[in-house]
Symmetry: C2
Subunit: 235 residues, 2 copies
């Protein structure tokens, strides 16, 4: 059981990233590695994961950070070794892969950042998900894990660029248990400039995932890599 | 045909607000009235609309703004008199009311700000909408109007408080035609501090509507009235 609410506790944990060779997973791994968190990248192909881990290490060191602990492994080994696991695989195959790792992921927090989108002539659009959202699908196939939705809107381009020393975004964090969402908020805040915000239970994760389509529309219109901030008195 | 892209053009227009006696509609009317835009509040009950119009006028004048042009009428008269019409009625009855006004609304921009939410023991949750979103339902029943989605996330409490001279929010604007979304962005920017941002076509309006459930969850956790800003270089 992971039950931590402060950065001190997080620093003892190893974070696994399933789909860690994709742009989003690799970008998150890079930021956590730069912050000193041990990371295991997972992939179907262990060699590809190891190559990605070597690249992340090289990028972190080249940017002037301390040598990180980043390793690569097949997805099952990644899930087994890590204390907290990020699901960053493509939507296509999401449920199947997670389902196959239910044993390795039992008792762990699984952070789902997957956006179920289709791409048509006029751009991206939200896909219907029988369970309501990728996060709810993950929870359905991982009954012994605690799923938290987060990191949907963090631009992979921005994550990859360590010269951006402060990222101007809030990370919306959705889940059922306060301890778990607190943990993920703390992980979000290891990305310099980012703020983790609780944004509801999993039943409200679908629209957060789908909002990524709107950010892509905004990127196209305004030639940017959009993120969001939540405003309001006291925030 | 409304086809304007600057504030100068907007100032010649009358804005109608269907459901103008509700908190959201009245709040928007208040801000536009304070900015000098002629407003017609609509309600099922013309007398209730007239009473709301008198209250809006009184609030605007008491806050030190010039006497506004705010009138009240039944919904059909409101739709007929206005050049641009905001749909701010409750979700329950949304399609039926709009459908009954298809003639009055023909050829006009209809701005839908309705959020299809249910409320359960653990808070709000998104309702399934056969058409995908309230805005798409509006477009389906109003084939001769041009529907734009906007103003979903603007807190009625913040709108109602004219002492908040600058509102720290972006208004996400969704629609099919650039001229129409530009018009609505300009209307959004009559609210001091607000910025109107194009955020995609109507196919991507559902998640914007439903995100209001997340803002309510944020309000409860952080004791605020949350809004959002879009961040990114160049914005």
């Amino acid at each position: 059981m992971v039950d931590v609410t402060s950065r001190d506790d997080i620093e003892g944990l190893t974070v696994g990233v399933l789909g860690g060779t994709g742009a989003q997973g690799r970008g998150l791994a890079l930021r956590w590695a730069a912050a000193g968190v041990p990371v295991v990248l997972g992939s179907r192909d262990a060699q590809r994961a190891e190559a990605a881990a070597a690249e992340v290490t090289e990028t972190v060191v080249a940017a002037g950070f301390a040598a990180p602990s980043v390793t690569g492994a097949d997805n099952a080994t990644c899930a087994s070794r890590a204390d907290v696991v990020v699901a960053a695989m493509p939507w296509d195959g999401h449920g199947e892969l997670l389902s196959s790792l239910a044993g390795e992921l039992a008792g762990k927090v699984v952070i789902d950042c997957v956006n179920p989108l289709g791409f048509g002539k006029t751009g991206p659009y939200p896909l219907d998900v029988a369970e309501g959202s990728a996060a709810q699908q993950a929870q359905a196939v991982l009954p012994s894990s605690r799923v938290v939705g987060a990191f949907h809107h963090v631009s992979a381009v921005v994550l990859a660029d360590l010269s951006q020393a402060s990222v101007d975004i809030d990370v919306l964090v959705l889940g059922e248990e306060r301890a778990d969402t607190d943990l993920v908020q703390a992980l979000a805040e290891l990305i310099p400039g980012a703020r983790g915000m609780f944004a509801g239970r999993l039943v409200n994760c679908g629209q957060v995932e789908k909002l990524t389509a709107n950010l892509i529309a905004i990127n196209r219109r305004y030639k940017t890599h959009a993120g969001i901030r939540v405003t309001g008195h006291g925030l």
